[in-house]
Amino acid sequence: MTEATDSLLPELARKLVETLGLDMAPEALDPNAPLIGAGLGIDSIDTLELVVMIDRDYGVKIDNRAAGVEAFASLAALADFIRQRRPATSA
């Protein structure tokens, strides 16, 4: 459990850079910096692209504005959001 939790953040960083085609190393993403509307140039279409990725890969839905604001506050917030809602997996 602890191991899985620890690996989620770097995994998300890698998926985010891959999914959006960002020209940067995943490690360079500040886990606590805002994801949207800041220096990364992530806009509404990117956000929807991430919503699809999170639903597909983690089974977590972000289908309203409030959830989006919470989930995309930062990379760390996104990891928390997914951890809290992720369906239990058969170990």
Partner: protein, 720 residues
């Protein structure tokens, strides 16, 4: 009023959810009832289960021979046949469509079929070709693909065609069938309403994707009773965002203003507005602002998409027919689906069908790429019913102020030089020739075709020396953004039809590159995309020639991007050693007396064999031109044998013999090579030498004929 011909609507034909003809539509509008339900055309389980659409049931309902056709083609035929009826054959047809035969393509890709026969209807052009053949239309068969404004843009082009005298009778409209691409695409954007759309509602939660077709017959001299007059049209581009409308509705307001001005009327003259009104939070908010910006006291208005759903490219055609019914029946259609009006919109829709005199209707259609089209329809009056006649006119020649091309050997100068040395430009454009040339905030998301197109547009604009944006953008592309289409469907099928990419969906619409060009150049003028196979460039030039006001400037271009999986399925004969991609862009000026190369669109014809030269008005061509440059796709090389024989006979009559040059041998096989030929020809007539023969050909007349020979033929002349 002006003395130019007017576009009288003398026939209408429709098929949409709840109505399979005009009579049924009239009943539906008088007593609205909607039946939105989950699609039956493709599986919708898991993440998409239960999401409603507006599907038409009971197809096929046309002729037995129609049943082999894809759904979009069937819908288009139904509506087109009703519009033409027993009347005279139209001179031309203009079809707005975004889906074409993609529902069938999806089935082929899902099944893993590698048989090109399963993909023969993928080209958007096949809808117009099918209608032209079924109805016996010999003149231009055009395809406009500007997303959800397609049919309304087709109406604008049709009106321009009537006004120019180029045609006396034009069938215009649009058709789209439901398919996975649009359903899952809009779903990935979270734009589909879970319980069906509720335009203007405080709790509106999106649109309901639909299907249908709507066609109108426009005539300059009515051959039967006039139903309405297409009094004005207005086109604009937001130049703001790929998929979201300008938040203040600036582009929408511009299109409304242009349509009213074009019709020569004031806002107060409008009796009813048929809104675009998709039911998405952003559209309805922006559109309401646009309406309030133009109308100090807005007339009755409604969105009928709560009844019909949103039939995408067909919407502008179906809603122009609803406008015609409103005029004829004295009916204000209801804003179906509305429960609680959104007070923030500050507009008041018609809540129930209302009988009232209606003399003037404004109908709006807006699409991805910030593409806006508004049309004004008016009831026929004694004065307007006076027929005007005019003889066909030659379209104006446009001067080439800037040019760019991209081929396997590089840009225009590099391509010219390679050809002059006897080399070829066959092959794919190397990434290094364009990939990094466009710096825009949105460039990160762009795949091959938009990058090629942006690089071409930017270069042509730069070389023109014109500082401001072009007044009009007309783009040709036979296949559109294939990588985006392929990636979208691949991800969809890989996930068991559960997940797809919103980025690829927005990028897959054929007018996405044109919208991005508008964004890059800040071009808020008309923005058209033509997808008509090998005639795509010629049709883009036709659009510019028809719509360019004196002194105006237009960016006219065409390009294709090869896609490893789809291109071999769609154009099997064009693969192998001659497989190529790329294209060209020209910055053209109207009514400009400066010296330089000029392009003139001469004609498009479906006539074959011995009639083909007459169809294009080229019987005497051999004496006028230094050479004929023939753009013949490998796909049509055997089908066009008779036309090639006619051309050879024509060449022999010329004095001196006019050489016929097959351009694809040197420039490669791709549908938009016509644009590259035009860019090279413009340079050739300026320099007096053509580097497309074994040794460069001196041009005594400085006049070249460019001929596209395929499913239909098209002719453009280039001269200095």
């Amino acid at each position: 009023m002006s003395s130019r011909p007017r576009a009288f609507v003398t026939g209408i034909g429709v098929v949409c959810a709840g109505a399979k003809n005009v009579a049924e539509l009239r009943s539906l509008l008088a007593a609205p009832r909607r039946r939105f339900a989950p699609p039956t055309l493709f599986p919708c389980t898991g993440t998409s289960a239960g999401l409603p659409v507006a599907e038409i049931d009971g197809l096929p309902i046309g002729l037995p021979t129609d049943s082999d056709l894809p759904r979009t083609h069937q819908l288009a035929l139904l509506a087109a046949r009703e519009a033409v009826g027993s009347g005279p054959i139209p001179d031309a047809i203009i079809v707005g469509t975004t889906t074409g035969g993609i529902l069938r393509t999806e089935a082929g890709l899902k099944a893993g079929s590698t048989s090109p026969d399963d993909y023969r209807f993928h080209g958007l052009d096949t809808v117009a070709l099918c209608l032209a053949q079924a109805l016996g239309i010999h003149g231009p068969a055009m395809t406009i693909s500007t997303a959800c404004s397609s049919a309304a843009v087709a109406l604008a082009v049709g009106q321009a065609m009537i006004r120019s005298g180029l045609a006396q009778r034009v069938l215009v409209g649009g058709a789209d069938s439901l398919c996975r691409l649009t359903f899952h695409g809009f779903r990935s954007l979270q734009l589909l309403a879970p319980d069906g759309c509720a335009p203007l509602d405080a709790n509106r939660a999106g649109m309901t994707v639909a299907e249908g077709a709507g066609f109108l017959l426009l005539e300059s001299a009515p051959s039967r009773p006039t139903l309405a007059v297409l009094a004005g049209t207005g086109l604009s581009c937001d130049a703001y965002h790929a998929s979201s409308p300008h938040p203040e509705g600036a582009g929408a307001a511009l299109a409304i203003r242009r349509a009213l001005d074009d019709a020569g009327i004031a806002p107060a003259d409008v009796d009813y507005i048929n809104l675009h009104g998709t039911g998405t939070p952003d559209n309805d908010a922006a559109e309401a602002k646009a309406v309030r910006a133009i109308f100090s006291a807005p007339p009755p208005m409604s969105s009928t998409k709560g009844l019909t759903g949103h039939p995408l490219a067909a919407a502008g055609g179906i809603e122009a027919i609803i406008a015609t019914v409103a005029l004829g029946d004295g009916l204000l259609p209801a804003n179906t689906g509305l429960v609680a009006l959104d007070p923030a919109l500050q507009v008041v829709p018609v809540t129930a069908p209302t009988r009232a005199p209606v003399k003037t209707v404004l109908s709006s259609s807006f699409g991805f790429g910030g593409n806006n089209a508004c049309v004004v329809l008016q009831a026929p009056t004694e004065q307007t019913a006076a027929a005007s006649t005019t003889s066909p006119l030659a379209l104006p020649a446009l001067r080439v102020a800037g040019a760019a091309c991209l081929t396997a050997v590089g840009d225009l100068a590099q391509t010219w030089e390679a050809l002059r040395r006897g080399g070829s430009a066959v092959g794919f454009v190397p990434d290094a020739a364009f990939a990094k040339s466009v710096v825009a905030p949105f460039a990160r998301r762009l795949k091959r075709l938009p990058r090629l197109m942006l690089a071409l547009a930017q270069k042509a604009h730069q070389t023109s020396g014109i500082s401001g944006p072009p007044g009009l953008i007309a783009v040709g592309t036979a296949w559109g953004p294939l990588a985006e289409t392929q990636d979208f469907l691949r991800k969809l099928f890989e996930s068991g039809e559960q997940f797809s990419s919103p980025t690829d969906f927005i990028g897959s619409v054929h007018n996405a590159p044109a919208g991005q060009i508008a964004l890059l150049l800040g071009a808020t003028g008309p923005n058209l995309t033509c997808s008509a196979g090998d005639r795509s460039f010629a049709q883009a030039l036709l659009c510019a020639s028809l719509n360019l006001a004196a002194g105006g400037s237009a960016l006219v271009m065409a390009a294709e991007a090869h896609e490893a999986r789809l291109s071999p399925l769609f154009e099997p004969a064009s693969q192998g050693v001659h497989a190529s991609d790329g294209g060209a862009a020209l910055l053209l000026l109207a009514d400009d007396s400066a010296p330089g190369a000029r392009l003139r669109w001469l004609g498009e014809s479906g006539a074959r064999g011995s009639a083909f030269l007459d169809g294009l008005g080229l019987r005497e061509a051999a004496d006028h031109y230094d050479a004929v440059l023939v753009n013949l796709a490998a796909e049509f090389s055997s089908a066009a044998k008779n036309e090639l024989d006619e051309l050879a006979a024509l060449a022999r009559r010329g004095c001196p013999v006019c050489p016929i040059i097959a351009v694809r041998d040197r420039l490669g096989q791709h549908a938009s090579v016509a644009a590259t030929v035009a860019a090279l020809a413009a340079r050739a007539v300026t320099e007096g030498i053509l580097p497309l023969t074994e040794s460069p050909l001196p041009l005594a007349r400085k006049r070249l004929l460019l001929l596209d020979l395929g499913a239909r033929s098209a002719a453009v002349e280039v001269f200095a």
